[in-house]
Symmetry: C2
Amino acid sequence: MSETKLCPVTKFTQIMGGKWKLRIINAIRKHEKLRFGKLHALVSPISRKVLTDQLKELERDQLIIREQFAEIPPRVEYSLTAAASQLCSVFSEIESWSDQHYK
Amino acid sequence: MSETKLCPVTKFTQIMGGKWKLRIINAIRKHEKLRFGKLHALVSPISRKVLTDQLKELERDQLIIREQFAEIPPRVEYSLTAAASQLCSVFSEIESWSDQHYK
């Protein structure tokens, strides 16, 4: 039996699966724009390699924007797309649930 | 540097991390009570081994209740704890976001 229409929660977990992506988006959301080093420090203990891969996937899935500035030394900043910004209502529900259950 | 207080989203991803748990909880939520076989069919393509492990972790984290009935053949049913039931507001935000962005 093939699933003709995926459940929205299934689609969400396919995109956000793994333990890092929600945290990466949440960190960028709080700071609006973040450079790689700062993001790496905030989403501890992620490795630089895994963070790089996760950022590429998030960029491919149109959830984050990668901006590179022609400066010396080169500067790269990550920000959220409009779609990812609209996750804020998901985060606020997660936060209130989490605060209530993990005191 | 140690983190003294974990961000609620970090705690949430630690508990819900991986691609299956939100889907398992969502499937049980929609049916109230589910037997292993039905759950396995709904959370496709999870393996029986992985589903068993995920259910044990969810039970340990007090998100699901495992009830075993002394019948022949033995019957086991899974349902949500009050804490997991209160995730419904998270799911409804995920669903509306997902419906909007993955048409």
